[in-house]
């Protein structure tokens, strides 16, 4: 008999790992110098980063904050013995114009209104974005916010947003009544019709009448005074907020069994995606006037908002369709087998999962839309890029480029980075283990 039997009599205690495996040294060894090729790459990258910073930092650190013109900047730098094309940044322009880059030509004594609008935007978004940390009662405010927002920015009589809100209330009432008595689809049609009739025909009488009874309002501000970052955020926020629900409807429509609905959605999506945004903006700024009856005053920002929203919605629809396609058929069958009807299963089972899958794509679209808002400078709206041209036209600042673009880029980056981080947080939060 060979002796292959073995029984351990004593268990080994746990030991500290060797120093080279843990701590800072271990980390550096593992991640930066694990073999000669990695070491070479590390050294090269460090050299590259050093070169970039060596060029950038001295340029950024430049005592020109108080200068009043480009010439003055050059003098300051010259006095310091700094010469050449990239001797230093001329921050005077940011100092003098940052307010304008943010608010455009919005009347100075009314700055509190856009500020209030955006602070309240945060309040309205909180229960939506952080549903587990913020009391859900705030959602009522979120629902009212879309009516407060334009009123704060454009001002005017309070009865206009009230009338807009009433349109929804009436449409909802009609939907409820008809969908109970007949079918959900007919309910939708009835609700939409009632709301449209109210908005297009009746609401102006209502506003006029209420105004003559009780004229409550704040000072109106015209659209052409809008500009700067405030304009970008306005367009971005509205397009983002409207394109998501519209995109969901389009994505569902594209999957619908009703052929007419389906082809309308497909046609819309393919058409919008096939046309550059800039074309749509030109249509908004010039062509639309040809179709509207002469004398109609259809606000340019409103037109741009509609176009950007439609554009974003088409992309959103395709992103969401991807999420829908990724859901296994079993989810639909599970929902069906429990007796949930179409809308219930969409709302409770399908959409929550499809949207969760599509979060990265949705946020990419959001970020893209937000950055695309800079295109409105081409049709003459004064977004930050449009303003930067206007500022350069000023003799004092003729020749300034990097400072302005850098500042604008930083603002955009802050917002886009925020959105991207939020989407990662959301993905982590919604992760419930694999199926």
């Amino acid at each position: 008999m060979s002796d292959i039997g073995y029984v351990r009599t004593e268990m080994l205690p746990e030991q500290e790992p060797p120093v080279s495996e843990v701590g800072a040294i271990g980390w550096v060894r593992h991640n930066l110098f694990s073999n000669w090729f990695n070491s070479l790459l590390t050294v090269l990258s460090l050299y590259f980063i050093f070169k970039v910073l060596a060029g950038l930092v001295p340029w950024v650190i430049s005592p020109t904050w108080d200068s009043g013109s480009l010439a003055e900047c050059r003098e300051i730098l010259h006095a310091l013995g700094r010469e050449g094309h990239y001797a230093g940044a001329c921050w005077g322009v940011i100092h003098e114009r940052w307010i304008q880059l943010i608010f455009g030509f919005y009347p100075e004594h009314l700055y509190w209104r856009p500020i209030a609008a955006f602070v309240l935007l945060g309040v309205a978004l909180a229960p939506v974005l952080f549903s587990d940390k913020v009391p859900s009662k705030l959602l009522i405010f979120s629902a009212l916010y879309p009516f407060i927002f334009p009123w704060l920015l454009w001002g005017g009589t309070i009865w206009a947003p009230v009338a807009a809100l009433l349109g929804f209330v009436l449409g909802w009432a009609a939907f409820n009544a008809v969908s109970k008595a007949m079918s959900t689809l007919l309910g939708f049609i009835a609700g939409a019709l009632v709301a449209l009739i109210w908005w297009l025909v009746l609401s102006s009488y209502f506003v006029g009448a209420m105004d003559s009874i009780a004229a409550i309002g704040i000072e109106p501000v015209e659209s052409r005074k809008f500009g700067g970052f405030m304009l970008s955020i306005t367009i971005g926020v509205v397009a983002i907020a409207c394109s998501l629900p519209l995109g969901i409807v389009l994505a569902l429509g594209r999957q619908s069994d009703l052929l007419i609905v389906k082809y309308i959605c497909v046609g819309f999506i393919e058409f919008i995606r096939g046309v550059p945004l800039i074309t749509l903006l030109f249509v908004a700024s010039t062509l639309l006037n040809l179709f509207l009856p002469p004398g109609t005053n259809f606000d340019i920002i409103l037109r741009v908002l509609i176009m950007v929203t439609l554009f974003a919605a088409a992309y959103m629809a395709e992103v969401i369709r991807g999420g829908l396609a990724a859901l296994p058929r079993g989810q639909y069958e599970g929902a069906d087998s429990l007796g949930l009807n179409y809308w219930q299963s969409q709302r409770l089972i399908i959409m929550p999962q499809a949207l969760k899958i599509s979060i990265p794509g949705i946020v990419s679209t959001f970020i893209g839309v937000f950055k695309d808002t800079t295109l409105v400078s081409i049709i003459g709206l004064l977004d930050p890029l449009g303003l930067s041209n206007a500022i350069r036209a000023d003799a004092n600042w003729n020749g300034i480029v990097w400072e302005l673009y850098g500042f604008i880029a930083l603002l955009f980056f802050a917002f886009c980075f925020g959105m991207s981080r939020y989407s990662m947080y959301l993905e982590r939060k919604l992760h419930t283990g694999h199926r």
Binding site: D336, L338, G339
Partner: protein, 263 residues
């Protein structure tokens, strides 16, 4: 195939078959495009019956039981479930679906909802049960399938056998009068099969009307009062389990049984 996995005595006292008809299928035909998948199906199921449907792969077993709760549409013939005829009327379909529970091979739990939410969703939205009552009922059924402690987890965190038991509990929360099972154990490891079968046997003991597509012949012998053998979209043979297994009549049945039990 796995042998009879449950040895305990079965209480047949409540497993009475009544005269009341639960499901009636008359001359039903179904096509997928040009493919005639179900051919002239006639089947009457009385309340309290436990029927096992067996047959080779692709014979149309799944399609048949999916027709019963209108997950698939049939083109000819008549299906009456609980006195309601299946038609294109969506209201009828939703009503039947809420009366008929279905358990799938791949569970089809909702991964974004907790176990408890999976179980309360349909009662709350379809039956309009108050949330509190729905939760109590869900806990009752989760206890019955022996996993009340998992109520707050998500489906992704459970084993296959546990998920399938949740799926059964989820169906039961709708208080169905008929339960359909489509190969509930074939995606499971052997030791999990037993826990799911135990649950199904308990259901049978309580007098639930059940239609099970399954290859668990031990379960069929023990619980079913009728075994149906399907091939090529048709019902080829049906009989009481003893007769069916010991004394099959048709050649196809014999062949099938020899393959499935033969080693």
């Amino acid at each position: 195939m796995s042998q009879l996995s449950v040895e305990r005595e079965i209480d047949r006292s409540k497993m009475q078959v009544s005269d009341e008809v639960a499901i009636e299928i008359n001359n039903m035909n179904k096509w997928y495009g040009a493919f005639h998948v179900l051919r002239d199906i006639n089947l009457t199921v009385n309340r309290g019956e436990r029927i096992v449907i067996a047959g080779p792969s692709g014979s149309g077993k799944s399609t048949l039981i999916r027709c019963i709760n209108a997950l698939e549409e049939h083109q000819q013939g008549k299906i009456v479930v609980d006195g309601t005829e299946l038609s294109n009327d969506l209201k009828n379909i939703d009503k039947i679906r809420s009366e008929v529970g279905m358990v799938f091979q791949h569970f089809n739990l909702f991964p974004h909802l907790s176990i408890l939410e999976n179980c309360t969703l349909a009662p709350i939205w379809v039956r309009k049960t108050p949330r509190k009552e729905a939760e109590e009922r869900a806990m009752h059924f989760l206890e019955k399938v022996k996993i009340p402690e998992q109520a707050d987890k998500y489906p992704g965190q459970l084993s296959g056998g546990q998920q399938q038991r949740v799926a059964i509990a989820r169906s039961l929360c709708m208080m169905p009068r008929i339960m359909l099972f489509d190969e509930p154990t074939s995606a499971l490891d052997p030791e999990m099969i037993k826990e799911v079968l135990d649950t199904m046997i308990e259901l049978a003991e309580e007098g639930m009307t059940m239609l099970c597509v399954t290859h668990e012949m031990g379960f069929a012998r023990q619980v079913a009062n009728r075994v149906i053998f399907m091939d090529a979209g048709q019902i080829v043979e049906q009989n009481e389990p003893e007769e069916f297994f010991n004394n099959p009549k048709s050649e196809r049945t014999k062949l099938f049984l020899s393959q499935i039990l033969g080693h």
